[in-house]
Amino acid sequence: MTIKKLLRHETILAVLVVLALIVLAAQSPRFFTVDNLLNQGRLMTEVGLIAIVMTFVIVTGGIDLSVGSILGMSAIMLGVFWKNFGLPLELAIFLALMVGTLAGLFNGLIITRFKVPPLIATLGTLALYRGIAEGVSQARSVRGYPDWFYVLGQGQVLGVPTQLWLLGIVAVVAAVILGMTTWGRMTYATGSNETAARFSGLRVDRVKLLIYSASGFAAALAAVIFVSRVSTTRSDMGTGVELDAITAVVLGGTSIFGGRGTIIGTLLGLILIQALKNGLSLAGVKSDGTIVLIGAVLILTILISNLFHRDGTR
């Protein structure tokens, strides 16, 4: 576990991102413009928020497949609290965030109390939460939010999309927590060797509970932003977001076995994917071709990174 080793994957990735940006900018004059880049930032915020917290989850050696469903459920609940219960929108937003956090806490409880592997537990809640979202919404959408609400998803502050500020703040806070605090150390310790961490007196279960709750909170926050961006709620919102987030995290160098990973890496992974999606589309590549390329880039990056890590560790 050396800083050098960590830097290496991130460095490779950073070089790749720069390369991708140069190549894509050469393909289309409309790619490397301030407007387009800020707009892409807007589009990647929801996945970004989820991916940042997903980094913690995966560093502990876990995974959270239910984030997309939590997003859908929180979005539906936001609409229900506001429209059907007639609560003020501010309160409805707060309650929707609570619903997401509780859903995450529930994941954490299944995983820590009943020792269910995170993959299975969150696969279960992936279906469970989506089912609740569909059952509650009965295929009806909630629309017509007040104008101030759209500032969050469609407006901008100081020329930068509102939600991008939020993503920035969350990213900095998360990077500090993971990289510089005891909490971060405990997260790595849990993922590196859970048994050793337990015997060292770390409260591993509490760490996990908190992280899964945070994951639910991030998904709910993404839900609020998403609803504001598209101005409606639907029960199928967030379908497949979990895979986008996990892809960004893994591309960012976080080990799927736990114990290794950084927020910077995740952010670079996010940027690379978003740049590829957007740049290729602008260069005239159709969306089916784009997803093939993103899959190839993911595998290649991990391969290159592994070439530099032939030292007996994973």
Partner: protein, 368 residues
């Protein structure tokens, strides 16, 4: 491990969805109906002011080569393959439209929005769309209009002010007329029939039935309505409901109308298995692929829907006319190549025309 698996399984089984509440429901809704004339003369469309959007400072595109992107709900399914074929056909005919189809691989609102956003940045002249959600797609379409891009929808509408025109594949009263006309032609004008529909939570079916009632009262007053049964777009339930109708009414039952793309093939299956092909006619809304076996076996003669190739074709012509400035707010009709003149309805919609009836002769030309 067994314990863990059991926990996961019980969690999964909880999520199998909510059980839908059953309710008594006679069929149609209470909204006003507008039945078409019995002989098919087109009704004069009610005048309604243009309620579509207007692009901000579009360049003069009249007669110019334009780049148009077609973003359907999703790609890779027969239905939207057919619409994009129609668009390509029209583009080839016109010669000055460069049309490509690119859509999400799943009917996902976010993917569709992102895709359209990228095409706005890439600077296309026109966007054709079939919305996955009428409201969610509106902000990005408005952004396209603000960028001076021509926006025309087809198949699935957005909020009217987020696009310029919408090509409407079928109106409720048109579908109703096609259903009742086919029924009367197959079983006679005084036969008894029953309806298999979905539920009261599906407004389209209620609307169609109400229009059918109004049209039949006007044009075929001797048709006997036996019963309308709910089958919730469920395959097995639809089959069972159709089976019950066959047993309950025996020889009185001359026709079954299927109101959903699930109910129609299920009803055809029930009639086939009861050995009643030829005695009980099945007519309904359905996609050709689901109905081919029954149509080929002569058990079903008419499947009512619209022609998606024509739908795409019309959308491309509407796009061209909009870009050329030939189709302006307030116009009442538009030229659409081989389809002739199409009329403007509801302010900013273009009606494709009468529904398309798939029969044994033409059903194998379609794959969706």
């Amino acid at each position: 491990m067994l314990k863990k698996t059991l926990v996961a399984l019980s969690v999964l089984s909880l999520s199998t969805g909510m059980v839908q509440a059953q309710g008594t429901w006679t069929g149609g809704d209470d909204l006003p109906t507008t039945p078409l004339a019995c002989d098919g003369t087109a009704a004069t469309p009610a005048a309604k002011e243009y309620d579509g959007g207007v692009p901000t400072n579009p360049p003069d595109r009249a007669g110019q080569e334009i780049t148009v992107v077609d973003v359907p709900k999703l790609i890779g399914i027969g239905y939207f393959d057919a619409t994009s074929k129609g668009i390509a056909e029209a583009a080839a005919e016109m010669g000055n439209m460069n049309a490509t189809t690119d859509g999400p691989t799943e009917a996902n609102i976010d993917d569709q929005i992102t895709l359209i956003d990228n095409y706005i940045t890439s600077g296309v002249d026109g966007i054709l769309f079939a919305a996955n959600d009428p409201v969610a797609i509106a902000p990005v379409l408005k952004k396209a209009l603000e960028a001076g891009i021509n926006v025309v929808g087809y198949d699935a509408n957005s909020e009217p002010d987020a696009r310029q025109w919408f090509v409407n594949q079928a109106e409720f009263n048109g579908i109703a007329k096609a259903m009742i006309d086919s029924l009367a032609a197959e079983v006679g004008e005084d036969a008894s029939f029953a309806i298999v529909t979905s539920t009261f939570t599906t407004p389209n079916q209620a609307r169609w039935i109400a229009e059918m009632e109004a049209y039949a009262t006007e044009c075929y007053p001797n048709l006997q309505w036996l019963e309308t049964v709910e089958a919730q777009e469920d395959n097995i339930l639809s089959f069972n409901q159709a089976n019950t109708l066959i047993n309950k009414y025996g020889d009185d039952l001359k026709g079954i109308l299927g109101m959903t793309s699930v109910a129609t093939p299920a009803a055809a299956d029930a009639v086939t298995q009861a050995g009643q092909c030829g005695n009980i006619a099945v007519i309904g809304l359905a996609t050709p692929n689901a109905m081919k076996p029954y149509v080929d076996a002569d058990c079903v003669k008419s499947v009512v829907l619209w022609n998606p190739v024509d739908l795409g074709y019309a959308a491309a012509y509407v796009m061209r006319a909009t870009a050329d400035g030939e189709l302006q707010p307030g116009d009442t009709e538009v030229e659409a190549g081989k389809l002739g003149t199409l009329s403007v309805i509801n302010g900013s919609e273009i009606l494709l025309g009468a529904p398309f009836i798939f029969t044994k002769e033409n059903i194998n030309d379609f794959d969706f």
